[in-house]
């Protein structure tokens, strides 16, 4: 994509249709099944209409990798994605605590964490979203010096923020407080 070849998945929350075809594409690619909870991207919908596609923000300083005592997490030099070594992961949850967006979650059936690996640079979720022209997920080049960490928020925080944008402050408070 750019000089360093690293990509980033930009999300435009207001465009998310809630079709969750990103979850289908992701779980088919990684698990061979339609399995929403095993998807590395999960669409949160605490409020109907406020759909939050939630996946790794790829913070520039990777606090999750820092926090991992089992050395199960590393950064893929080529894509910039966080890599989970499932043989080392102890499912302790320290990475979840360290993540400013609380993105990582346990695999629903196995004893390790799952984090978006960018499908090796060709994210299936973005393809699914673009194919349907929703444009809630976009593939962009990773820019050096930009603080991706500043975008990392929890589903709860994002819900409050996007609800305000969509409904207006007053109504947002009424639907989610």
């Amino acid at each position: 994509m750019n000089q360093n070849g690293k990509v980033w998945i930009e999300r435009v929350y207001e465009n998310c249709s809630g079709c969750r075809r990103c979850e289908i594409a992701c779980s088919l690619f990684h698990e061979g099944r339609i399995w929403p909870e095993a998807s590395r991207i999960r669409v949160f919908m605490f409020v109907p209409g406020v759909e939050i596609p939630h996946l790794c923000f790829q913070c520039e300083n990777y606090p999750c990798v820092e926090a991992c005592l089992a050395e199960a997490l590393s950064v893929n030099e080529q894509t910039g994605a966080v890599k989970v070594d499932v043989s080392k992961c102890t499912a302790c949850g320290l990475c979840i605590e360290a993540c400013p967006g609380r993105v990582p979650h346990m695999h629903p059936e196995r004893n390790y964490i799952v984090i978006c690996d960018l499908c090796g640079g060709k994210p299936r979720c973005v393809e699914a979203c673009q194919e349907g022209k929703w444009d809630a997920l976009r593939l962009s080049s990773r820019i050096e010096g930009f603080s991706y960490k500043s975008l990392a928020k929890t589903p709860e925080e994002l819900t409050v923020e996007i609800a305000k944008k969509l409904f207006g402050e007053e109504t947002a408070k009424e639907v989610w407080r």
Binding site: E14, N15, S17, G18, C19, R20, R21, I24, S27, L28, E31, G32, R33, I34, W35, P36, E37, A38, R42, V43, F44, M45, F46, V47, P48, G49, H54, A91, G93, I96, R102, V103, P104, H105, M106, P108, E109, I113, E131, G132, K133, W134, T154, P155, L166, F167, G168, E170, T171, E174, V175, W176, R177
Partner: protein, 623 residues
């Protein structure tokens, strides 16, 4: 078994007992799931005493069923059923959302809910962890508050079950509003804010069981399928076809409010007194500016034909509502003399908040307004309300009265047909001529008089789901059109997504790839689908306890549909009586009913429905 989770949950609310149950492969092969399986379960468990069972009593069974295609077809629904308090038959009422997927991922194909809870309750499902919980804090609450409470509480509860999981996505929720709680016959089972299973009146059935909501969270994958690659191929093929349907994706049915009035003259206008209008203020473009989501949908949907409307300014500020789609534009718009997008969104929002079905609720509001117009209902009857056409605020007040059964609302809560009988008795006059219903079900917003809409002469009169505009009887191609709908309602997928297909072949192929069981079109139309149709027909004719339909009299269009259209380009037109009777007879012949519309003994025997024959003889429907 492939495509099925293989287990159903049986919840006895009276005794607070929960158990798992399953059906033999043979039953699932024949009745598929959803609507078909609902008819089978209801027949087996309640058939013998069907005519004595009050749909709003604890004896009724509430069914929430997925089908084998739920989750694998791009466009997900779940089917709600039971004995209908509208038709006294069985209606398969489908509703969009993630509920069906969450349920299957939790390991269940459906819920069979019996009895009545002692106090307001909700059912909580998180994989194998199933509980009946207290709903007292939200009993009486409207949609927004109910959802906010249940989402927050359920997320905490799921976190407690899976403490180290990380952030927990909200479970899927089916709920009812005050209209359901107060056992009105015009209440929907609701998902999100305004996705509703409206036809049938199962919101009232839920209410009669003291059941406020069902909450489901599944962590597993969808069940295994027979041929994974073929499933993915067909999923993609159906999706691609739908990506091409730009107009429908852009507008959903939201251009219908103008189109079906101005172009096809088939829209209810002021309680069907007319079916034509050409109000420019009701064009789709007038709604567009209120949409905060131009493409909105549910799990797997390639179309996302829904739109989300919000009023950010004006006197109705704060209203949030799905679309309104065509049905709501019609029934809560033109039908009430409302031709302003803003007012239509507002009244739709009010109706949604109360858990009213937009169609059944809108029909009864329009009926009341016509009686007011004619001076049959007075201001005093309406507790001082001036129910003028177009007055959104007055209709909102009346909607509240209906949902809470206050004053005149208590009668109107019975739905158009029963309200007309009761008010007619009170006023000493026949009011059925102002009611557009089919066997107790207010007819969908597609009139038959102009002949220009997809609903035609016998569409409603011969349907086993009566007024349901998604389940129309037809004799095109020498087979019953209603059996096509039985497939979507039984395999449980969104029929709107299937409309983009040239034919039904991909659906049968998908069924085979998911289940590994063969199913040909011939087998469906000539046997399996037909069998489900017979069961529904038999249960509809058994009816009771408050009303039994006589096919010779009641397989008919409402009186108003026989009056020629009074205005518009098709002024003077209506269905020709002779054509109607010829087509009705032809339909009876096609589906194996006698000239009275009763399933023939040989039809029932051929389909293995011997016990249905016995029952029909017992009650004198067959000699």
């Amino acid at each position: 078994m492939k495509g099925y989770a293989g287990k159903f949950l049986e919840v006895d609310l009276s005794n607070e007992k929960i158990k798992e149950t399953s059906f033999p492969e043979e039953i699932l092969r024949e009745y598929i799931g959803g609507r078909g399986l609902a008819a089978k379960i209801l027949w087996d468990r309640l058939g013998k005493k069907w005519e004595t069972i009050d749909p709003l009593s604890p004896e009724n069974i509430l069914l929430v069923l997925t089908g084998p295609l739920t989750g694998y077809f791009p466009g997900t629904k779940v089917c709600v059923s039971g004995k209908s308090p509208q038709s006294n038959g069985v209606i398969g009422s489908t509703i969009a959302g993630e509920f069906g997927v969450d349920l299957k991922c939790a390991g269940y194909d459906g819920l069979i809910i019996t009895g009545k809870a002692e106090k307001p309750s909700y059912i909580f499902i998180c994989d194998g962890h199933v509980e009946i919980k207290d709903a007292t804090p939200i009993w009486g609450r409207k949609a927004r508050e109910t959802l906010r409470f249940l989402v927050k509480k359920s997320v905490e509860e799921v976190k407690a079950i899976k403490p180290n999981y990380g952030e927990v996505k909200e479970p899927s929720i089916l709920h009812i509003g005050p209209a359901g709680e107060n056992r009105t016959r015009v209440a929907a089972v609701v998902a999100k804010y305004a996705h509703g299973a409206g036809y049938g009146g199962y919101g009232g059935v839920m209410g009669s069981k003291n059941l406020k909501a069902i909450v489901a969270k599944g962590f597993g994958p969808l069940p295994e399928v027979y041929d994974r690659d073929e499933v993915i191929r067909i999923f993609d093929e159906i999706s691609k076809r739908n990506f091409e349907v730009e107009g429908f994706r852009r507008w959903g049915t939201g251009k219908g409010g103008y189109h079906f009035g101005a172009e096809t003259s088939s829209e209810p206008v002021r309680n069907w007194q007319e079916e034509w209008h050409n109000m420019e203020s009701f064009r789709g473009e007038e709604f567009d500016k209120y949409w905060i989501k131009k493409y909105w949908g549910d799990f797997g949907c390639p179309v996302t034909c829904l739109k989300l409307a919000v009023l950010k300014e004006g006197r109705f500020r704060g209203a949030i509502c799905d679309n309104p789609d065509y049905e709501l534009q019609a029934y809560l718009g033109a039908n009430l003399g409302i031709f302003k997008a803003e007012d239509n969104i507002y009244i739709s929002y009010v109706s949604n908040e109360l858990g009213l079905c937009g169609i059944q609720g809108g029909a009864v509001l329009g009926f009341a307004a016509e009686l007011y117009q004619r001076g049959i209902l007075t201001k005093e009857d309406l507790d001082g309300l001036e129910l003028e056409w177009g007055n959104a605020e007055a209709f909102a007040v009346l909607a509240e009265k209906i949902a809470y059964r206050q004053g005149i609302g208590d009668i109107l809560a019975e739905g158009v047909y029963r309200a007309a009988l009761k008010l007619g008795e009170m006023k000493g006059t026949n009011l059925l001529k102002y009611v557009v219903h089919e066997k107790g079900v207010a007819i969908g917003a597609h009139g038959v008089r102009s002949g220009k809409d997809f609903a035609k002469d016998i569409s409603y009169a011969c349907s086993v789901q009566a007024g349901d505009h998604t389940s129309l009887a037809s004799i095109d191609d020498g087979r019953s059109g209603e059996i096509s709908t039985i497939l979507s309602d039984s395999a449980v997928y969104c029929n709107f997504v299937s409309f983009a297909l040239d034919d039904m072949k991909p659906l049968f192929k998908l069924y085979e790839a998911v289940t590994g069981w063969s199913l040909s079109e011939e087998e469906w139309y000539g046997e399996k689908g037909l069998r489900i149709l017979q069961l529904q027909r038999a249960l509809l004719l058994l009816g009771g306890p408050d009303r039994q339909w006589k096919p010779k009299i009641d397989d008919d269009n409402p009186q108003r549909f026989w009056e020629p259209l009074p205005s518009g380009p098709y002024k003077g037109k209506t269905v020709d009586r002779e054509t109607f009777e010829r087509n009705r007879l032809e339909y009876y012949r096609l589906v194996g009913w006698d000239e009275n519309g009763v399933p023939k003994p040989e039809t029932l025997r051929k389909l293995g429905l011997h016990d249905v024959e016995t029952k029909l003889r017992e009650v004198g429907l067959l000699n």
